[in-house]
């Protein structure tokens, strides 16, 4: 049985859909715009292997945060399957969910608002232990808190401080410590380095790598920082308006993005090497609203390589570029490869 488990990928997401409903009330229906459905996540599928780094990339509003919350059931998905170690999360009982929570944790984006401002760092880190009754005695709990603080390179004296007394980087470390308490196998890192200074972000990335080596963790990175994503990931998926438009190995995608949106995204990153004025693809317009996503390909309203009417009417097919590299586009591969 155990051998079988080893070969099953840690996380498999199939056809995930998370819709939010706005305007369900009576008054909305009569006076307002009626029922509006926000297609935050619209049929997303991917696989994460144990011990690997998977990244989900995209811009604001593409749905990546909703994806990470959906797979942890912090937000209830509308449809689809989420398999963790082969079992469907959405069918778990309360008790099974509690056990799952010990195995899968999240480090949230804004360290300030993800930590209760009225609890000290020590209390925040000790809370998971108290919830799950893992350590009975107070001194054990305090020792564990001290140990975790050291693990994330903070001092044990910081246990008595409140979140607002910490800098952004330090607050994020507390979030990481809290995620580690229950010894999870799988950690979702939501925009871990955004808003941090370069040197602090580097320190945090090194810390994450050390932790991964020591505790054999699997990471799911959410980010819009393409440099970081290139550096950190084994596999990358690019999202736009609730759908994955391209997915594959990090190397393949960053060397040669094929989907027009990926190409625009990667070309827009300011490059460090001056003089290398890469031709930037500047997209027109703004991202459409997820309440009324465009028909056919979601990207057709801004695509710089739009084929024509087919992009507006038909959902683009999945094309296989080899080695797990897939993308959803009407334009044939050979044409896309010619930049």
């Amino acid at each position: 049985m155990k051998k079988n488990m080893d070969r099953v990928p840690l996380v498999q997401v199939q056809g995930l859909k998370t819709y939010f409903y706005k305007g369900k009330g009576v008054l909305s229906k009569v006076f307002g715009k009626g029922l509006r459905i926000v297609h935050a996540v619209d049929d997303v599928s991917f696989t994460i292997e144990a011990g690997k780094n998977f990244s989900l990339v995209g811009e604001t509003g593409c749905g990546k945060s909703t994806v990470c919350r959906s797979i942890l059931r912090l937000v209830e998905p509308t449809d689809g399957k989420i398999l963790f170690e082969g079992q469907n999360l959405l069918e778990f009982s309360k008790r099974e969910m509690q056990k799952f929570r010990c195995k899968a944790q999240i480090v949230m984006q804004d360290p300030r608002s993800s930590l209760n401002p009225r609890m000290t760092a020590g209390e925040i880190i000790a809370e998971p232990l108290r919830i799950h009754g893992m350590k009975k005695y107070e001194d054990e709990i305090q020792d564990e808190v001290a140990r975790l603080l050291e693990t994330v390179r903070l001092s044990s004296e910081d246990a008595d401080k409140y979140p607002h007394e910490f800098s952004g980087g330090q607050a994020r470390r507390i979030g990481i410590a809290r995620a580690l308490v229950l010894r999870p196998q799988f950690i979702v890192a939501d925009e871990l380095t955004s808003g941090l200074d370069v040197s602090i972000a580097a320190a945090i990335l090194d810390l994450m790598q050390d932790l991964q080596d020591e505790f054999k963790l699997t990471y799911f990175w959410i980010s819009h920082d393409l440099h970081m994503v290139k550096y950190v990931s084994d596999n990358i998926a690019i999202m736009y308006l609730g759908k994955i438009v391209e997915i594959g190995r990090a190397q393949d995608i960053s060397d040669g993005p094929l989907h027009p949106y990926s190409q625009a995204l990667f070309s827009a990153i300011p490059s460090i090497k001056p003089g290398h004025e890469t031709r930037k693809i500047i997209l027109e317009g703004e991202v459409p609203s997820p309440i009324h996503p465009p028909s056919g390909c979601p990207f057709n309203t801004r695509c710089q390589r739009k084929l024509g009417a087919i992009c507006e009417t038909d959902v683009p097919p999945w094309q296989d570029a080899g080695d797990g590299h897939r993308l959803s586009c009407h334009i044939p591969l050979e044409t896309l490869r010619k930049v």
Partner: protein, 306 residues
């Protein structure tokens, strides 16, 4: 490992308890310290302390029996015997003020206490549940609030008759919707905060989320409201007693003293001045205290960086 679970291991448990309480005491000490650092905290707390000491220990502090009449000595001004003078039947004003603090304390704490204990949970539950529950609860709040409070209090007082308990209940009834509203608004905001989702991600059950995460973060405006309300309730008691609808005489209450002082304002103005001063000081004390408490409880405002 299983052995540890089964055996009682008293010394270790005791040790654990001790440490937990140590941490709690530390936290409370921090709050008290933050309190003491604020001038308004010290002043407010002192005023309230005086009031409560008077209320609790009136028989021992007051120089005279509040109802002891001394007609021969009525309308007397300040004297070493009667520090604040006597009223129209020769009762010592100072003693009556001291005993009046009892009524003030009981009415204010009673009514505000009941209002908070009823209103806050209602509001919080309404916000968490939404839907029909929310609708009904808001309806109740709004119906009560739509009556002008003056009229409602007077009418209710007239109906049920004057008595200490009645005043407390009536005042609580008219004020609990305000707390409910505030609690609901705060809960609506707090439940969207990321740390609530963080707690969920750790597997925290709803009860724990409510107690440890939501309640501490919604209390701030409620404390301010309660602080000011305490003073306002004392004013209400005075007003009702002034109109004869409050605590029945001969019980010494500040409101009654105001009324009686008003009648004799030209003969012995001291009869109304002293209770007036006491009332103003009390209201000030409560407001300052509530504000200081709010700041002391908020880790961010306790220690501003700039």
């Amino acid at each position: 490992m299983t052995q540890e679970k089964v055996s009682l291991n008293l010394p270790r448990r005791w040790d654990s308890y001790k440490r937990k309480s140590q941490l709690r005491i530390k936290k409370i000490a921090q709050i008290i310290q933050a309190f003491r650092r604020q001038p308004r905290g010290v002043i407010g707390a002192s005023i309230i302390a005086v009031i409560f000491v008077c209320a609790l220990f009136s028989p021992w502090i007051a120089p005279f029996d509040p109802n002891e009449q001394d007609i021969a000595n009525r309308f007397a001004g300040s004297s070493p015997q009667h520090l604040l003078g006597t009223d129209y039947v020769g009762r010592d004003i100072l003693s009556r003020l001291i005993y009046g603090a009892r009524v003030a304390a009981v009415v204010s704490i009673g009514s505000v206490g009941i209002a908070v204990l009823v209103g806050v949970p209602l509001g919080a539950v309404a916000a968490l549940n939404g839907g029909a529950v929310d609708y009904i609860v808001i309806l109740i709040f709004d119906v009560i609030r739509s009556f002008p409070s003056v009229i409602m209090i007077l009418v209710l007082a007239a109906i049920v008759g004057p008595s200490l308990l009645n005043i407390i209940l009536i005042l609580a009834f008219t004020s609990f919707p305000a707390y409910g509203r505030v609690a609901r608004a705060q809960t609506l905001w707090v439940k969207e905060e990321e740390y609530i989702m963080g707690a969920k991600s750790l597997g925290a059950p709803t009860g724990r989320i409510l107690l440890s995460h939501i309640i501490p973060n919604i209390l701030s405006p409620i404390i301010v409201l309660a602080g000011m309300d305490l003073a306002v309730m004392i004013m209400w008691e005075s007003a009702l007693s002034f109109l004869g609808l409050g605590v029945p005489p001969p019980t010494a209450s500040w409101g009654i003293m105001l009324k009686q002082g008003y009648t004799y304002i030209e003969t012995a103005p001291l009869m109304i001045i002293w209770p007036g001063i006491v009332l103003i000081t009390t209201m000030l004390g409560f407001s300052l205290f509530a504000e200081a408490l709010r700041i002391a409880l908020n880790p961010r405002e306790r220690d501003p960086d700039e």
